[in-house]
Each structure stands twice: as C-alpha cells, then as structure tokens.
C-alpha cells in the first residue's frame, strides 16, 4: 500500500501569525466548526482523462465529497451545503473572497485543484481561515489515480492536524469479521475496508470460523484466530500476498493474539488442560516465552505503546478483572476495582489510558481508565458490546454491538460502532454485512 503512493510534499506553510482558528478535541464538541469544502477544481482535459481511467465524471468533486464525509463523521466539523457557495472553485483556490464565505458562516475553507500530470493525479489544496482572511496551509502531492479516495483522506488528515494540533485518523483501514447467517450457525469471514466503509474486501471465504483479527504496526500483516481443520490456532496473514501461516507449534488452542508495538512478537493466550496463560512468540527467531503462570484464565493481552508493560484480563481474583504487568511477566498488579466484571483491556496509542469492556448488572459498557486503574469513565452502555480498538491518534474507539433477539430468538444483528473518547459522537459504522471484532490500522501515509 505504502509503495503505491508517491507523496510529494511540495510546500507546507503553516502561517502562525495570530489567533487563527483552533478546534478543541478534548471535550465533547456541541458546536462543530462550520467549514466549506469547495469542490476541487479540474481542467477539462484532466477531467476527460480521469473520467476514462476512473469512471468518475468529476474526480475533483468526488474527492471533496470524501473530505466532507470524513469531517462530518469526526463530529468536530460541520461541512456546509455546497449550493450556498458563491465563488467558483478555481477562483476560490487562487484567492478566496472572504466576505462571500463569511456570509454563509464558514469559519474555515478548503480549496484545491486536481490535474492529470503524466497519467498521475496531482493535487494541491489550501486551508483558509475565513475570519482572519489568511491562508493556514498549502500542500501539493502526486499519486496514482486509483488512490483518489486516499487523496481525500490525506487532505482530511492534514486539515484535522492543522486545526486540532493532533494527527488525524482518516487515511486508515479497519479489519473486522464479516458475519452472515443464523445466530446458531454464523458464517464468519475476515474483511477489510477503508475507515469510511469504502473499498470493502473479504479476505477469507467463510469455510472456517475466524475471530479477532488485529493489524501489525505497519498495517500490512494481520494476526487472528482461525478454526481451520477444527483446530483453533493463531494465524498470521500477509494482506498483500494473502499468505497465511499458523503461529508457533502449540499442542492446543491459541487465541487472543496481538502484535507487540515493534511488530516483532505476537502475544496471545495458550489454553491447555483447562488453564489459559499468556505467551509471546518472536516472529524472527520463533522463540516462545511463557509470560504468565497462574491456574486462572489469563487472556486478552495488550502491550503499552513503549512495549514495557502488558495489560491483560484474568479471573485470578475469582472474576474477570484487568491487570497490568511488566512485559517479562513480573510485577502483576490488578487495576480494575469497580463493581462488575472487566474484560478486553487495550492500551491507548498515546499510552495514558486503557480502554475496556465492563459487564455490570446485565449491561455492557465500553469505558476507559488510567493505566493505574484510576479515573474510570464509562462512554457507552448497551445490551451487548465489547472489544474496543483505538484510532491511531487515540481519540476514537471502534467496537461492536449485538442486539437482543426477540421471543422467537430472531432479530439478531452485530454491527460496528465508534465513539469519541469524550463520550460524544457515537456512530454506526457502515458495513455491507453484519460485523464484529474491529481493529483499526495505523495511519497509512505517515
């Protein structure tokens, strides 16, 4: 994927003159910033050639639609209706008439231009502060035409970063389990899609049960659980080549896999004789290490971003709780002490929080706590939901939710949802089929 894109940053000119607009992402945003996304302008010749290769009438306006949808989904921005725009896209890109944009209450404006250069797609865009009447950023890059949706995502990431001060999460993908069929005989396949639901692809055929896929740090590999030949084992899948291999040679079920932050190890549970412990396997030298050694269930391990600690799930106290230990298995400490059961701990990419699933009085919650267990905050409550996964900037969680069936046992569904760390902006994530076990990739163009 990385090779496909030729990112040519020609100029980055952040103008730091005086109080330009800023978006605060640390609180729930009840007043999303009004932003105008002017359709990217395109000359007739380029339009014609891209129409031929991409089968899109106007690729400039298609890209701007991608940007608008991203901005809207973020919950931080309110993209304004294009019909109200007074200035033509090509002229606005050269020099916006700020009074016009002010009139429709836009506070920020994105303009841009696409061009066919030697059968490549060259794009430039600018971000303007309408109130201050200033350019905030100007970037240009060139890529293969097929990457046009990613162009929209990259532009959104740059705008998001300029306005919030934090990296974006739009040029990313989600790997998940696509589900079909009756609840007692679900067919499950690995599937991958862009963060906005586009470009959905199935990676397995559904012949065997597959669960809990997770990306490696470069998002080129996936580790997951497969019931191939009725032997539940952790597997490794190369997304580009489609090559799959079983991880290690364990005489029993391995499950709950994740990569270490350097991508060199897989950490997982191995169950034997009724006891599940946590192990790592080094992918380079195949050395297996046992990390926990306790007669209880130890599972759902997740590394801290610096690789020095592991949070995991154990019922050694009698019930499912969250524990933290050093990555060699020493210094095990329980950190969850609230009412109820705690599962699926997953360390934030920023390092400061652990997201989890909580079961209390018949309800399931997605929440976060600090890594010492303090500051527990529940973000959302439902009949059934679990398995949060962090956006690469640590601002959004994606998880799955299942519905209660009716008296006849019908009406079951499983869907992906996302919610901001603030507890606001809860959204259904569109998938072609039912879906579960989502895992968010890193930023692809980083």
């Amino acid at each position: 994927m990385r090779n496909l894109i030729i990112l040519l940053l020609i100029s980055i000119i952040p103008t730091n003159a005086f109080a330009l607009i800023e978006v605060d992402i640390t609180r729930g945003n009840l007043n999303p910033l009004p932003i105008a996304v002017s359709p990217l302008s395109i000359d007739d010749e380029s339009k014609k050639s891209f129409k031929k290769t991409l089968n899109k009438k106007d690729i400039g306006s298609e890209i701007s639609k991608v940007i608008e949808k991203n901005l809207k989904i973020s919950g931080l921005f309110n993209p304004l209706d294009k019909n109200a725009f007074l200035q033509a896209p090509d002229i606005a890109h050269l020099k916006p008439r700020f009074e016009d944009w002010n009139l429709i209450k836009a506070q920020a404006l994105i303009t841009g231009k696409v061009k066919n250069v030697d059968d490549k797609l060259r794009v430039e865009f600018r971000l303007w502060d309408v109130l201050a009447g200033k350019e905030m950023m100007a970037i240009a890059f060139t890529t293969v035409p097929n990457n046009w949706r990613r162009v929209g995502h990259i532009i959104t990431d740059k705008v998001y970063e300029r306005l919030t001060g934090e990296k974006g999460y739009f040029d990313t993908r989600i790997i998940y389990v696509a589900e079909e069929g009756p609840k007692i005989k679900r067919i499950k396949k690995l599937a991958i899609m862009d963060q906005d639901g586009a470009n959905n692809k199935f990676l397995t055929l559904g012949n065997e049960l597959v669960l809990t896929p997770r990306f490696n740090p470069t998002s080129q590999m996936v580790t997951y659980l497969s019931y191939f030949k009725n032997l539940p084992r952790v597997y490794l899948l190369d997304i580009e080549t489609g090559i799959q291999e079983v991880v290690g040679d364990f005489p029993g079920m391995t499950f709950a896999p994740r990569f270490s932050p350097d991508g060199k190890k897989i950490i997982m549970s191995f169950a034997k004789d009724g006891n599940s412990d946590i192990y790592t396997m080094n992918l380079e030298n195949r050395i297996v290490e046992k990390i926990t050694n306790h007669p209880s269930i130890d599972t759902s391990p997740s590394y801290s971003p610096d690789g020095k600690f592991i949070c995991f799930n154990s019922d050694r106290s009698g019930y499912q709780q969250i524990y933290v230990m050093k990555s060699d298995g020493s210094n095990v400490k329980r950190i969850s002490f609230g009412n109820g059961l705690y599962g699926t701990p997953v360390w934030s990419p920023r390092g400061d929080l652990i997201a989890f699933t909580k079961l209390h009085k018949g309800k399931f919650y997605i929440g976060v706590m600090r890594t010492d267990g303090s500051g527990e905050r529940l973000l959302t409550e439902n009949f059934y939901q679990e398995a949060p996964s962090w956006s690469p900037n640590g601002r959004v969680l994606i998880f799955y939710r299942e519905t209660k069936t009716d008296d006849k046992g019908e009406g079951f569904s499983a869907k992906l949802w996302s919610i901001d760390l603030t507890g606001y902006n809860e959204r259904l994530v569109d998938t072609p089929t039912d879906a579960s076990d989502p895992s968010w990739s890193s930023l692809l163009s980083n």
């Binding site: 009756p182 609840k183 007692i184 005989k185 679900r186 049960l209 669960l211 809990t212 659980l225 030949k229 009725n230 032997l231 539940p232 029993g252 079920m253 499950f255 709950a256 549970s269 169950a271 004789d273 009724g274 006891n275 599940s276 269930i297 599972t299 759902s300 799930n313 019922d315 019930y319 499912q320 059961l341 599962g343 699926t344 699933t357 079961l359 018949g362 009949f383 059934y384 679990e386 398995a387 299942e402 209660k404 069936t405 008296d407 046992g409 019908e410 079951f412 076990d437």
Partner: protein, 159 residues
C-alpha cells in the same frame, strides 16, 4: 435438536435389534471426514440410549453439578464398553461474556468434563477438547433459559 430427538426415538426402537452394531448404524448421520479431521456432529446421544450427550454449567462457572457428574458417569460407562470410540468434548459459553474470555471458559468447562471422564477410567488419549466460546449457541434466544442451555460441554463422537 429436534432432529436429535427424532433420531434418538428411532434409535431406541432399533436398539433392541442392533445393540452390538450401534457404531455401524450411526454412520447414517451427517458426519464426514474432511482431510484427516472429523467434522461430524454425532454426539453420544445418538449412540447410547438414556445417556445425555451434554452437561450444563452455571454462569461463569466450570464446576460440575451433581446431575452433570451422573451424566458423565453414564458416558464413561458407555465409553468403557465401546473402547474403540474416541470423543471430542466441545466446550461452550453463553453470549453474556467477552469473546476471548469465553474461549478460555469453554476450554475450562470441556476440561472439567474430561477430567471427570478420566477419573472413571477413560484414557486421556481417547478424549480431545475443543472450545467454541460463544460462537456456537444451540439456542439463539437472549434470555436466561437460552443462556443456560448454551453453557455446556457436549461429548461428540470423533471417529
């Protein structure tokens, strides 16, 4: 499940004539070999009249109840008589738990049943264990009765 019952009733009738050839008769059912792995669904219930094929567990528990132990003793007795049969104990959990923990819980439940069969003389190399976690409920209901049916270990014929 309904099919199970019908087959079982048919079986009781047949049993009188075919006590000794029970294994042969069971080949009618849906089981099949795929490569070197048996992917069938035959359970002990098909084979032995009056012996339940499964035991049930309380929420989050893997302790065998008195009724479960009786069931397993009957299974053990039958397995001792049919010493060429090997079995898979399939451990399951209800939908009210996180997926990964439930995989471990299913494994723990199936092993509880395995340990008990072993204390009644069934060799460990005749028993393998397979956890499905919450992936294969028998009842799709979202209510306590359905969940209690789904928290189970089922003894499935493996050869």
């Amino acid at each position: 499940m309904r099919l199970n019952k019908i087959l079982k009733n048919t079986f009781i009738v047949l049993l009188a004539c075919f006590v000794l050839s029970a294994c042969a008769t069971s080949k009618k059912s849906t089981g099949q070999m795929q490569g070197d792995v048996y992917t069938g669904t035959d359970t002990i219930e098909y084979l032995a009249s009056g012996v339940p094929d499964r035991v049930f567990f309380a929420t989050n528990e893997s302790v065998l109840t008195t009724a479960s132990r009786e069931t397993l003793r009957k299974q053990a007795a039958w397995l001792r008589k049919n010493s060429d049969i090997t079995v898979v104990l399939e451990g399951h959990a209800d939908e009210r738990g996180t997926r990964e923990y439930n995989l471990a819980l299913g494994e723990r439940r199936a092993n509880a049943a395995k340990d008990y069969l072993m204390t009644y003389g069934i060799s460990s190399n005749r028993i393998s264990v397979l956890s499905y976690g919450k992936e294969r409920p028998v009842d799709s209901g979202s209510n306590p009765l359905a969940w209690s049916k789904n928290r189970r270990s089922v003894t499935v014929k493996a050869n």
